[in-house]
Amino acid sequence: MTTAGTSPSRSAARGSRSGFLGWLAVPALVFFVGFLIIPLLGVLFLSFSSWDGISTNIRWTGLVSWKAVLANPELIHALWITFLIMLVSWLVQTPASLLLGVFLAGRQRYRAVLAVLYFIPLLLSSAAIAITYKALLDPNFGLGAGLGIPLLTQDWLGEPVLAFGTIIFVVSWQFIPFHSLIYQGGVRQIPASLYEAAELDGAGRIRKFFNITLPQLKYTIITSSTLMVVGSLVFFDLIFVLTEGGPGDATRVLALDMYKTGWQANLMGQAAAIATILVLVGLALALLLRRLGGRRYDTSQLEGV
């Protein structure tokens, strides 16, 4: 991308001799096609079939699975819950990550120390985090019961609204550090001259934040939001371990709906239809957010510097 300076005749000569380089990409391509591209097509194909997931007897049944899935109110419910988790976790995580990222971009020694501790959650598996919180929030054996604080001894995972809130909290606990890390990098890219100019104009901290930091972070915000939104679409581990979609179906998101339909109800055809919806929604969201970001990433940001 950056090096285009060699003489054209020489690079052309090299190009013609190094045509065989394509073979170097073959091993990666085999795994990529075998476990991502074929499955991507396969999920669509399987959604027009019936399969119990145990035998290898897969029958072509046309639209039967789609009709069943689309007629099932569970799908609309799962879509709604997925959307709510996406929206609320975005609303919670974005401002928090942004503030923490700005804070951690400072180069004071104590902030570097804090950063070491802040980033611990992003090393842990969702399973470990979910199990920790399940134990910690247990109304009988958890932290609240041990401390004897009634406010903390609620049935956190047993009441629909509380369970939803708990999932948002745990998701934030796990992912805010990661997004803070992204914002930290973004803030450190902002040219100091912008702030110096603003200071000369007498701008205070809040005005600097809203007039410089926030606009300069536009693309960082879009990147982080894309990861958050598309990521929350396929949340599985955390919710599966914490609530298994319960109580009832209060936290049954699309990915969980797919799992339960496929591996518990043994309706793989329907599960594949749900997975297809998952793929389509994910692609639509990714494209939408990319459109929002515009095409040129590296020019307009530095205007007037």
């Binding site: 991308m1 950056t2 090096t3 690079s11 052309a12 380089l21 073979w23 990409a25 091993p27 990666a28 990529f32 075998g34 991502l36 499955p39 991507l40 396969g42 999920v43 399987l46 997931g53 923490l100 700005v102 804070f103 400072g106 180069r107 004071q108 804090l114 070491v116 959650p121 090393l123 598996s125 470990a128 199990i131 920790t132 134990a135 054996f141 041990g146 401390l147 606990w173 990661f178 990098g185 973004g186 803030v187 450190r188 890219q189 100091a192 110096e196 901290r205 960082t220 598309v230 396929v234 599985f236 599966f240 371990v241 797919m258 793989m268 793929v279 990714a286 990433y297 590296d298 940001q301």
Partner: protein
């Protein structure tokens, strides 16, 4: 899951910063940021502190003592119980799956990235491959798991470690190629050319020149993939059923289901599984963190 193009990567590249950017938030005391940062520290640290101290408590003490106070008499019985439950085996399984997937994934990705950088301008095939990999970033693993499950059954690899390794390699490829491509591009072309003049073939240039020169990127990509695969819960859940094929995250979940009343033992199992990663974090924090933002850090 990662859906970004290469462009913003450049914008957030981890190059050395001018020292005066610290003024961004420095200068006067910022009380809001200060207060929020200490609250967040509490939110992060309290659960971690709690699992560590509880994991060394006697089960009987757990119900009678203050949960935030470290125990008077430490016990490692909980850890013994966890290890007796087969965690050594699960640890070894996790290690085999992680190394077995990361090493080929990174080597194959490196070869592909090298080919793309060296000849995408002249080879239509490599241009198509490159855009396919970029598109692959947008494919969520969760959504394609059903056909992967079918493929693994058809390959007679269901309930085997190899059955988890192969899809993990496939899932790692798009992001690894993207990141490695960006780094190999920064190697000055003249170096390739002069080595070629000396009569080296592409295979030699690849391993003797490009690979050593981009070692930090290789380490970063390896760490990112290793962490992702080490922590994967979904793949072993779908692709295994035998107890002796479990990897750590799945084993944790099963252990918790079995011993949920014995909170100290459950928490000991959690501590035991995060210990190796925390140890790595202490040793190679910078590499780990840059590994985590591999997709956009560069």
């Amino acid at each position: 899951m990662v859906t970004i193009t290469t462009e913003p990567a450049k914008a957030t590249a981890g190059r050395p910063q001018p020292a005066n950017t610290a003024r961004v938030v420095g200068g006067h005391r910022n009380w809001t940021a200060g207060v929020i940062s200490w609250i967040w520290l509490g939110i992060v640290i309290i659960p971690i502190y709690w699992i560590v101290i509880t994991s060394v408590k006697l089960q009987a003490d757990y119900y009678t003592t203050n949960p935030m106070v470290p125990p008077g008499d430490l016990t490692f019985d909980n850890y013994k119980q966890v290890i007796d439950a087969g965690f050594i085996q699960y640890f070894v399984n996790s290690l085999i799956v992680t190394l077995g997937a990361v090493i080929p994934a990174v080597l194959f990705s490196f070869m592909a990235a090298y080919a793309i950088v060296r000849s995408a301008s002249t080879s239509r095939f490599l241009r198509v491959v490159n855009s396919a990999f970029l598109m692959g970033l947008a494919i969520p693993q969760t959504a394609v798991i059903i056909p992967v499950y079918l493929i693994i059954i058809k390959l007679h690899m269901y309930d085997s470690l190899l059955g988890m390794i192969l899809p993990s390699i496939g899932f790692s490829i798009p992001l690894s190629v993207l990141v490695l491509t960006n780094f190999i591009r920064d190697v000055p072309k003249e170096l390739f050319e002069s080595m070629k003049m000396d009569g080296a073939n592409e295979w030699t240039i690849l391993w003797k020149l490009a690979f050593p020169l981009t070692r930090p990127a290789v380490v970063t990509v390896s760490i990112y993939n290793a962490l992702t695969i080490w922590n994967n819960f979904f793949l072993p859940l779908i692709l295994t059923q035998s107890i002796d094929k479990r990897t750590l995250p799945l084993a944790l979940w099963a252990f918790q289901g079995q011993y949920s009343v014995n909170v100290p033992a459950v928490l000991a199992s959690v501590v035991l599984t995060i210990l190796p990663i925390l140890a790595l974090y202490v040793v190679g924090r910078r590499q780990l963190l840059s590994g985590l933002t591999a997709g956009f850090g560069k």
